[in-house]
């Protein structure tokens, strides 16, 4: 049966996009490798605020249309039970302004495919210091949790939309400011090195189309420690590291 990403060419089913074949009984679909993000309810996303509007923010999430984050679906400082007043509407830019990065969850999908996001949990909200890596959404493995505190000394949010946020592991848990306060204290050089290494590892894995989840990233990190951070992106080193990672992943599976 003809599914998404396929067409019938002279009575033969042919893929119209390059990607992974998925079968559900007789239905055959091809999931494209290079694509925009098709959000589903519950997906964790990392996005960038592009516009502040009346009662809503527009968020760039690598989907076909900009997503919206309603003022009513964020946690404002002062706890869950706080009532939203007209002043909140006027001070929206103080919470999130253009260019800011947020982590959020998809709350619902509109009929035109645009996403509505929410940050009504302490784990979501504005992102502070760190590095954003933009990859293809089809490389992110769907998992129970997309927030990872990696043992190598940094944390990672693997957004379902292909945006990955790397940041130094926070020392104490979220402050009272409801997640709108960001620390601008300098990050230590050792943390930076770990984050830069992770960033280059992610890019290396993505270049070789390896599925991204905590184990694969961690294995890649371990395989890369013999090399200098800046050398990881050289094609020959990249190939070597990714090959070692794939071997490790196979060993672990089998």
């Amino acid at each position: 049966m003809r599914g998404h990403g396929t067409y019938v060419d002279e009575e033969k089913l042919t893929a119209s996009v390059a990607g992974e074949v998925q079968r559900v009984d007789k239905l055959i679909c091809v999931k494209p490798l290079k694509t925009r993000f098709n959000g589903e309810v519950g997906d964790v996303v990392v996005g960038r605020i592009t516009e502040v509007q009346q009662k809503r923010w527009k968020v760039e999430t690598n989907s076909r249309l900009d997503s919206v984050l309603l003022l009513s679906s964020v946690n404002l400082p002062g706890g869950e039970l706080r009532r939203r007043s007209a002043e909140d509407e006027l001070t929206m830019r103080e919470y999130l302004q253009e260019g800011d990065l947020i982590s959020a969850e998809v709350q619902s999908v509109f009929s035109d495919g645009a996403l509505s996001l929410h940050t009504r949990s302490l784990k979501y909200g504005k992102l502070g210091q760190g590095v954003l890596v933009q990859l293809s959404p089809s490389l992110i493995k769907r998992q129970k949790t997309h927030f990872h505190n990696l043992p190598c000394g940094a944390s990672m949010i693997l957004g379902n939309n292909g945006f990955v946020w790397l940041y130094p592991t926070p020392e104490q848990q979220e402050e009272e400011a409801g997640g709108f306060y960001t620390s601008l204290e300098p990050v230590s050089v050792s943390d930076r090195e770990v984050i830069s290494r992770l960033r280059n590892c992610l890019l290396a894995l993505a270049a070789h189309k390896v599925l991204l989840f905590d184990t694969s990233v961690l294995y890649c990190y371990e395989c890369s420690v013999h090399h200098q951070v800046k050398d990881i992106l050289k094609p020959e080193v990249m190939e070597e590291i990714v090959m070692l990672t794939q071997q490790k992943l196979l060993e672990q599976e089998g």
């Binding site: 210091q129 760190g130 050089v189 930076r192 290494r197 960033r199 951070v229 800046k230 094609p235």
Partner: protein
């Protein structure tokens, strides 16, 4: 110019990283990203080169044509530049969006390359005052990820190295007029001397330090940058400041010194690579655009 949005916290992160000489991608302040060069990629030019620097990609083609020398310098040929900003690079270049950047780039390139110290323009002369070779250098931006100037200058140097100008024979006919005859043999050609062709090094002032080969994110954090063209001997042939901010004299001096150092170090491996590629001859497997 393609711009990216960067949040305040990200800016702080980048700024502190540069202060500690450890950039987001693990490089130091004076390191370049991975660069790939391929020459002779477009068959209908006299010389061409494609350079990728990180995610920046430029294609340069050189066409030689016979023209009239400029009246001020009758015994020299000249070089013309045209920069095309493809909308493939960024949607901002769509329509006439890339025109401004294109003119700015080509004006700078003209300043840097079209003088007798950078290129041997006398060798482009065919007969003084009447005919000379005109080199049309066409630059096509395929992808923008910061540091266009450096990538373009390297590509131009490689393309000029690759340029083969057909040999010409001048014969006088009975009436005293001169006739120019181009050699039919494609191997009977003149190569350009690219020894003195400079490379451009762009230094971006970020915080109190400066970085070489800035990515778009780093560029977003910088107030101003200095473009320096350096020859293989370390001679500076041209400097230009771009960007809205200002630079104090002390930092300009520091940046020039760093530019000299970096530029000098850029030339030797570049020439070595170009000669290596040349020596492979026809046996070389071409990578092209799909590799």
């Amino acid at each position: 110019m393609a711009t990216v949005q960067v949040s305040e916290a990200e800016k702080v992160y980048i700024l502190h990283g540069i202060r500690d000489d450890l950039r987001v991608d693990g490089r130091g302040c004076e390191d370049y990203r991975h660069m790939e060069i391929e020459t002779d990629v477009v068959s209908n030019t006299d010389g061409s080169a494609k350079v990728t620097l990180g995610d920046t990609a430029v294609l340069v083609g050189v066409k030689a044509d016979i023209g009239k020398p400029r009246p001020m310098v009758p015994n020299e040929g000249y070089v013309e530049f045209f920069v095309d900003c493809s909308a493939n690079a960024t949607p901002e270049f769509e329509g006439r969006g890339g025109e401004e950047l294109g003119t700015e780039l080509s004006n700078t390139l003209y300043k840097v390359f079209n003088n007798k110290h950078s290129m041997d323009l006398k060798s482009l002369c065919i007969s003084a005052g009447e005919h000379c070779w005109v080199l049309y250098v066409d630059v096509l931006l395929l992808q923008c990820d910061g540091n266009l100037y450096d990538a373009i200058s390297v590509a131009i140097k490689a393309a000029l190295f690759n340029t083969k100008i057909p040999r010409v024979h001048i014969s006088a006919d009975e009436e005293g007029g001169k006739e120019i005859e181009l050699s039919d043999d494609p191997y009977d050609c003149v190569r350009l001397n690219v020894e003195n062709v400079p490379c451009i090094v762009t230094l971006c002032k970020v915080g109190h330090r400066h970085v070489v080969d800035a990515t778009l994110q780093e560029k977003a954090c910088s107030v101003a940058s200095l473009i320096i063209s350096v020859t293989h001997k370390g001679t500076i042939t041209c400097t230009r400041k771009v960007g809205g901010g200002s630079l104090d004299p002390e930092s300009i001096f520091e940046m020039t010194e760093a530019g000299k150092r970096v530029g000098k170090a850029l030339h030797a491996p570049l020439m070595k690579l170009l000669q290596q590629e040349e020596s492979l001859g026809k046996a070389r497997q071409k990578v092209g655009f799909l590799g």
